[in-house]
């Protein structure tokens, strides 16, 4: 699911590594709407997400030469940079763990998400959406919290007021189910 998905983004990253500014702007235009949404999702603040996105793209420009197209899809590489930066900010700013607006947690299944991304991602996206839809609500919610808030089992348990053993089981089964569904 990784190789055919974004040949254009890989090419743009390659151009960025060679110092091509026009390619960098193209990459930014193609990817910033989604990456901004991910930063907002993690930070729960547009102001913080703006800063995060700025830092992320400066980093992307400087580190484009480190991208290895045969080891990760461009999307994975870009999402990882944004998520790492956002989680760092979150850790610096987090005084205590607070439950986000529950409506926010429906993010993954939101109807906004029917918009196709660049580069003909539709098949992969449909598959991902189907597989997410097959998860139990609790499983999906725990996975989202762990991924988007960078929390441990114990922190997810505290946040959701669920016994630790239950959270571990939900996460383990959720991951297992996702893998089976996606790898079919």
């Amino acid at each position: 699911m990784t190789n055919a998905r974004s040949p254009d983004l890989a090419q743009l990253l390659g151009q960025c590594a060679l110092g091509n500014r026009a390619a960098f702007e193209q990459l930014y235009r193609a990817t910033s709407p989604k990456l901004f949404a991910i930063a907002v999702r993690i930070l729960n603040s547009e102001a913080l997400a703006e800063e995060c996105l700025q830092d992320a793209y400066v980093k992307i420009w400087h580190r484009a030469g480190d991208y290895r197209p045969h080891l990760a899809s461009p999307v994975t590489w870009l999402v990882t940079i944004v998520r790492n930066g956002a989680l760092d900010t979150l850790r610096r700013n987090r005084r205590q763990v607070t439950l986000q607006d529950p409506a926010h947690l429906e993010f993954l299944m939101d109807e906004w998400n029917t918009a196709p991304g660049p580069d003909g991602l539709d098949n992969d996206s449909d598959r991902l959406r189907d597989c997410l839809g097959q998860l139990g609500d609790d499983q999906r919610r725990c996975l989202e919290i762990a991924y988007f808030q960078g929390l441990s089992h114990a922190e997810v348990a505290e946040l959701t007021r669920t016994p630790l053993g239950t959270v571990k089981t939900w996460i383990r089964r959720g991951l297992e189910q996702l893998r089976k569904c996606l790898d079919v």
Binding site: P33, K34, W61, T80, L87, D110, W112, L143
Partner: protein, 234 residues
């Protein structure tokens, strides 16, 4: 724990990528990850799945134009100069990003090149013999072929590393440009991925630093430099 159990390997790789594997279990897993290509592939597959889901699920948000203005300005002023300046010994770009950066950075550095995409082995053109200064024992032989696009490292008698530390191979150009090539294997042979760059790999010097597994930098070394020398022509 029996790390040969396929069920356990699957689960640990998934929880590592998700970020829920913590503490001593995480450190043990990372030590294993450095020399286990199968685990590396599993972690990378999970990074793909999770990032893919985050991307798929994200709406196309309206991005304020001032973000691009700022980015473009920062790249303009910092880009051409800071990039070309000597990065050796400067602070690691990734330092401070903490554990979240680990999986992809590590996996990207150590994952062997995928066999189907690898060109047929070419004759080695350059070689670097890596020995710790003050030591008689040869640690690794690193060979390069195909104009530097294929780099292989074979462990001879590498130094024993403290837990959680590895030797990382770098290329250093005369103008100070530095690129990470990969983690040198503890034993056996590893194929390392040449970073994308417009530089001639053979004009660079080869260098080795000791880095923490949990925080491998890719932009510039953070740990002590233990070797530096030129390629030798074969």
């Amino acid at each position: 724990m029996n790390y040969d159990n396929p069920e356990l390997r699957r689960r640990l790789a998934a929880e590592y990528a998700l970020g829920t594997l913590r503490g001593a279990a995480r450190r043990r897993f990372e030590r294993l990850l450095v020399r286990d290509p199968d685990l590396q592939a599993r972690v990378v597959a999970w990074e793909e799945r999770l990032a893919g889901m985050a991307w798929t699920a994200a709406p196309e948000a309206r991005v304020p134009e001032r973000i691009w203005t700022t980015v473009s300005g920062r790249v303009e002023t910092a880009g051409s100069t800071a990039r070309r300046r000597g990065l050796w010994n400067s602070l690691a770009f990734w330092r401070g990003t903490g554990f979240a950066a680990t999986a992809v950075a590590l996996a990207l550095l150590v994952l062997p090149v995928d066999p189907p995409t690898r060109a047929p082995d070419a004759m080695p053109e350059r070689v670097a013999m890596i020995a710790e200064s003050g030591s008689d024992a040869m640690g690794w032989v690193v060979t390069a072929s195909a104009g530097g696009q294929q780099i292989r490292a074979r462990a001879l008698s590498p130094p024993e590393m403290p837990e959680g530390e590895v030797c990382v191979l770098w290329l250093v150009w005369p103008d100070g440009t530095v690129r990470a090539v990969g983690v040198l294997p503890e034993y056996g042979e590893a194929t390392l991925a040449m970073p994308i760059t417009d530089r001639q790999p053979y004009q660079a010097q080869v260098a080795v630093t000791i880095e923490r597994v949990s925080d491998i930098p890719m932009d510039s070394p953070a740990g002590p430099n233990v070797y530096r020398g030129p390629w030798m022509e074969l």
